[in-house]
């Protein structure tokens, strides 16, 4: 196991109280595994991604642990976490377009960043990786503004993976891209994994069909909790959790006409995570809900590698 997350709880401090955005999530990522993290907005997927590398000012590590390569990450301590960042855990951010300092030439920025981390820049390796993502080497002598959006995205991907991190977090990196570029990004990420640039990856997205192309395993989250985690094919074809089933069924299928049958989506909204009611958090929207749902369903491994948190599935 590269990454092991155990009962992780991260809350947002607000004036009204704590928002329980990530409330007891446990999972593991194996060596060489790409874990796709899916769910609707507000389900805690970005919070989870941030928790693994850098909590922002409003976030509070309440409980649980993160173990990477048998080392416990001090995720609650910004300063102690620094030595692990970039080298062991790295991030491709949502905002690749503006992730680079606009007034520094890219090559110089990379060198300054590596110097500040006391790492020597391996220029040949950097050139190799630029070749790999089909960026001309001249980009190192350019300012970010001189690159197109796609080039910036690839440049950030190269920078983030330069030190061969054990875990790479890719947070909604395809959301702003057109479909063909999305496909290219996914292929590149797979290439990075296959060449051993990154040992394992957490691919956060709201786009289940895209996750299916890339991920080995898909984890679906709902309202700060794990709903279902299974190999990609199983989640898409034979989901057990009612939320996953509804999520999959609300995806349009290619070649199917929707003239007679309208896409419905899932009625209702996710609950407020400020003092949520105990029990299953999906039960208000769940068509299968029954009395037992007032108790919180524990995640149960129903088959090998298939974890579901639902009373009906177990």
């Amino acid at each position: 196991m590269t990454l092991e997350v155990d009962d992780l709880r991260v809350y947002y401090r607000t004036l009204k109280g704590d928002v329980q955005a990530l409330d007891g999530v446990s999972f593991g990522v194996k060596d060489g595994e790409i874990l796709g993290l899916a769910g609707e907005s507000g389900c805690g997927k970005t919070t989870l991604g941030k928790a693994l590398i850098r909590l922002d000012g409003r976030m509070k590590h309440v409980g649980g642990s993160v173990t990477l390569d048998d080392q416990v990450l001090p995720i609650g301590d910004d300063v102690k976490m620094n030595p692990y960042r970039f080298k062991q855990v790295s991030l491709i951010p949502q905002y690749s377009m503006s992730a680079m300092n606009p007034t520094r030439k890219i090559g110089r920025m990379v060198r300054e960043l590596l110097d500040s981390r006391k790492v020597k820049l391996d220029l040949d390796e950097l050139h190799n990786r630029l070749d790999l993502v089909e960026l001309p080497r001249e980009v190192l002598g350019k300012y970010p503004i001189e690159l197109s959006g796609g080039m910036k995205q690839r440049m950030v991907m190269v920078i983030s993976t330069l030190l061969n991190p054990s875990l790479l977090i890719a947070d909604e990196i395809t959301s702003a891209l057109d479909v063909s570029t999305q496909k290219a990004v996914v292929t590149t990420l797979k290439g990075f994994r296959d060449r051993g640039f990154v040992k394992s990856m957490l691919f956060i997205t709201h786009d289940i069909s895209l996750t299916n192309q890339l991920a080995d395993t898909i984890m679906v989250m709902y309202a700060g909790k794990l709903a279902e985690k299974a190999p990609a094919g199983v989640v898409v074809n034979a989901p057990k959790h009612p939320y996953t089933q509804l999520l999959i069924s609300s995806l349009p299928e290619v070649g199917v006409r929707y003239a007679d049958k309208r896409l419905t989506g899932i009625p209702g909204n996710p609950p407020s995570l400020l003092n949520p009611v105990p029990g299953c958090r999906f039960r208000d929207r769940c068509p299968l809900a029954f009395d037992k749902c007032a108790e919180e369903p524990p995640p149960v491994e129903v088959e090998k590698d298939h974890v579901v948190a639902c009373w009906k599935a177990a």
Partner: protein, 331 residues
């Protein structure tokens, strides 16, 4: 690049033309006749002699020609480097008066603008970093920047000059001294320079500190700062980037503020009876001295335009985005 500066120079040329025209026009629109007041000063009793003098003066200053001729003449004189003769300090040429006053004004302006800009930026960047500093620097800066130049100048002259008697309150040097290149005179000069400089410096300082603090906070929240933090870059590197990027809008601010600072310096000079352009302009207005007023304004306009041009050049050097914009981006 050449097109950029070509366009800039054209704009500066147009501004210069407009400024000279307005400078020519404004004194002439003021009520009162300068020749009449000169005649009054001359105390000539006989009407014939007075009439002869009037014709002589009108001819000397060209007031007997039609206004468009006077306007063209003033341009011609300008290109010959001839600013005319002062009416107030007749018959001293305006150019002499100006060259005597300009060093004093520059000695006040350049250090107060540059030092307040540099220290204000440092102070603002520091305030953005520490809560304690932020809670002290910010309110003080707001008070300073809201203070009118002349009020602070008067307050300092009263406090340091009259109550405590540390610094002299008026003049560029002691009345008992004659200008010379000697140490005692230089020290005396410096002693008189402190208060006007300090009042200009303090008012400008507050504005720069507030501006810098706000821009730095904005920069530290920006995406590139977050990305660097996520990659574990030390705060030192992130702050260095943020400071450098935050300086850019401050440079623009400097270009915008230049005119205000010059105006403030003129008022401050008057408060301290400092022998610079400000005092000269006051005398020119009081005596309806067209030529002196025109000459002094011309100097100021030229100074501000040149300073703005220098800032334009510096901006192109420090912000790569402006250069890229000129060269055209590549995909």
């Amino acid at each position: 690049m050449r097109r950029y500066f070509g366009r800039k120079l054209l704009v500066y040329g147009l501004t210069f033309f407009m400024a000279v025209t307005v400078n020519w026009l404004v004194p002439r629109l003021m009520p009162g006749d300068p020749v009449a007041s000169m005649l009054a000063r001359a105390r000539v009793a006989q009407p014939e002699a007075q009439e002869a003098l009037r014709v002589y003066y009108n001819n000397l200053f060209g007031f007997d020609q039609p206004w468009w001729q006077q306007y063209l003449n003033s341009w011609g004189a300008l290109f010959r480097g001839d600013f005319g003769i002062s009416l107030w300090a007749f018959p001293t040429p305006v150019a002499d008066l100006l060259t005597r006053a300009v060093p004093y004004s520059l000695a006040l302006l350049i250090p107060s603008i540059l030092i307040s800009w540099v220290i204000g930026n440092r102070l603002g960047a520091l305030a953005a970093r520490r809560k304690v500093l932020d809670n002290t620097v910010l309110p003080v800066s707001y008070v300073l920047t809201a203070t009118p130049y002349l009020w602070l100048a008067a307050l300092m002259a009263w406090g340091f000059g009259i109550v405590w008697g540390i610094f002299p309150v008026a003049g560029g040097y002691s009345f008992s001294m004659t200008p010379s290149f000697t140490w005692p005179f230089f020290v005396d000069l410096l002693w008189h320079w402190v208060l006007p400089f300090a009042s200009l410096f303090l008012v400008a300082l507050g504005g720069w500190a507030i501006g810098m603090r706000n821009v730095i906070i904005y920069e530290l929240e920006s995406d590139y700062a977050n990305y660097l933090s996520a990659l574990g870059a030390p705060q030192k590197l992130i702050r260095r980037y943020a400071f450098r990027n935050a300086v850019l809008p401050q440079i623009t601010g400097l270009a915008l503020q230049l005119g205000v600072l010059v105006a403030g310096a003129l008022v401050t000079e008057i408060v301290f009876s400092y022998p610079g352009l400000g005092s000269l302009i006051l005398a020119a207005i009081q005596n309806k001295d067209f030529f002196l007023l025109q000459g002094a304004f011309l100097f100021i306009v030229l100074g501000v335009l040149i300073a703005n041009f220098i800032i334009d050049v510096i901006y192109v050097i420090v912000d790569p985005r402006t250069r890229v914009g000129m060269a055209g981006a590549s995909a």
